[in-house]
Amino acid sequence: MPLIEVKDLTFTYRGASQPALKGVSFTIEAGEFVGLIGPTGAGKTTLCMALAGIIPFTVLGKMGGRVWIAGMNTIEHEVAELAQVIGLVLQDAQAQLLMTDVEKEIVFPLENLALPREEIARRLEAALDLVHLKEMRRLHPFYLSGGQRQRVALASILAMEPQILVLDEATSELDPVGVEEVLSVVSELKAKGKTIILVEHNMEELVRFADRVIVLRAGRIVADGPARQILTNISLLQDIGVYPPQITLVGQRLRELGLDLPELPLTLDEGITMLEQLVKAHANLSGEERVVK
């Protein structure tokens, strides 16, 4: 049984004339790392909130179709129940932090679940370790940087030990240092086998992790496949208004100029390897020293 199953999901916000999601269907197995991309207004945040159960009862509107998280129908379960299986981190770090220090923020959901104190203590330390914020435990979030705040938000959600983690543009308001801090935690989580859905605008960040990519536009899925297949499909990405990874564009142009590339590069490392090979190949071919202009 898949971990996440979405069938014909449709949703119209209360007071809106158009549905934000129109018949979305997909499944996700345990351990997958799925990137969710699409232009602004495509319905990515709506989809995330529907997965977490926030839609349709906290954020109101008309929902059609079904969402099952670990076999639980999201309409039949409280968000609090679902939160123990699927955790959601949103774009605005400030908005998700409720407590006056980091420690209180992380223990808050665990207290709400009425866990015994020893268990809370264990999970608190584990969460602080995971996001590398042990020294900041008694600080008010006002004194933290954007990246640190997002890590606190992450820790607070991870403390509930959900199987699935959904990150809705969690890094788009951060500076590069903050982005790196958050993504390195994501990387560790991936290594631990967590099921992760990452909504991203920046393809360079996404290519580092995604195994699979779902493309959303105007409330519908327009593509769903292996990350490599989708993110090197330059015409598709440009068509929906997403900027492809730059290194892929470089590869594409080199192909247009006549160079033989078996595969378009996706990450910077692949790009460097490709270029080094090209340089070597041509140097070998000509038998001449490489001429540096």
Binding site: I54, A80, A83, D92, T100
Partner: protein, 274 residues
């Protein structure tokens, strides 16, 4: 705003007094606040205030308190001494310095005014001390644990905690909003009071918008963090009152007891000097 945050930070320091149970400190404070109501004898009030000051080195907050109160004390005394004499109902044998139409300034009146000022100063000192040694968040949590036993939901303490979290942010937003309006040529510093207040009206809207947005985000965040999942939530931080806490409360009780005794004995009020 920053002063407020500074005070909150002082409460997080470490000292024998900081380590006391927050509820003990709250009870001590409430008891102490009653003293200036019962007693108006300036000498007793000075003694009480001095006693609180003597505790500040133990708490390690002496310098901080000094910096704040050195401004407030003279302002308070000045204000009181100037206005209160006019409220004093004189007695026949008072020694008047000035007795002309509606201005009746007597020595007794001045002594009375000083006594009233000292009442406020003593109360202020106790409050400042309390705020600087007590982590109000811990206090709120501690009280929240108690009231849950009586079936009161944790929502109210939670509201207080969240307000303290969002306060600096909303205040920061307010400053930014002001700056953005200044940058659109809104002159907020000139004109009459009325005119200046009217100019603040457009500023209110983005501020209210941002507060409302915070509120709706809070609702979603609470859900995502399983608030309300269980009727009896557990608490990570435990608060237990020990012998030191009881002693601390007792010190307040003794102070109040002394005040009551002196009052009953007839030396508690300022009338002793009038």
């Amino acid at each position: 705003m920053s002063l407020f945050l500074e005070l909150l930070e002082t409460a997080k320091r470490d000292s024998p007094i900081h380590r006391l149970d927050p509820r003990a400190k709250a009870i001590w404070w409430l008891i102490l606040i009653i003293c200036p109501i019962i007693v108006t004898n300036p000498l007793i009030l000075v003694a009480l205030t001095a006693w609180i000051w003597l505790m500040t080195p133990v708490a390690g907050i002496g310098r901080k308190m000094y910096r704040v109160l050195i401004v407030i004390y003279p302002v308070m005394i000045g204000f009181i001494v100037i206005t209160w004499p006019f409220f004093y109902r004189g007695k026949a044998d008072d020694f008047y310095l000035v007795n002309w139409s509606f201005i009746h300034l007597s020595v007794e009146g001045i002594i009375y005014a000083i006594a009233m000022g000292l009442r406020i100063i003593m109360a202020l000192t106790a409050c400042m001390f309390f705020v600087m040694v007590t982590d109000l968040m811990d206090l709120t949590t501690a009280v929240g644990q108690i009231i849950q036993k009586f079936g009161v939901s944790y929502t109210f303490p939670l509201m207080i905690l969240s307000s303290f979290k969002f306060l600096p942010e909303v205040s920061g937003d307010f400053l930014t909003i002001q700056e953005s309006f200044r940058s659109r040529a809104l002159d907020m510093d000139s004109g009459s009071l009325w005119e200046r207040m009217r100019k603040l009206v457009p500023i209110a809207i983005p501020l209210v918008e941002s507060t409302l947005r915070h509120a709706s985000n809070i609702a979603i965040a609470l859900e995502l963090k399983a608030f309300g999942a269980r009727k009896n939530r557990t608490f990570y931080r435990q608060y237990k009152m020990g012998p030191k806490d009881v002693l601390f409360i007792l010190s307040g009780v003794v102070a109040l007891g002394l005040c009551c005794y002196l009052r009953v004995k007839g030396v508690g009020t300022v009338d002793v000097f009038l």
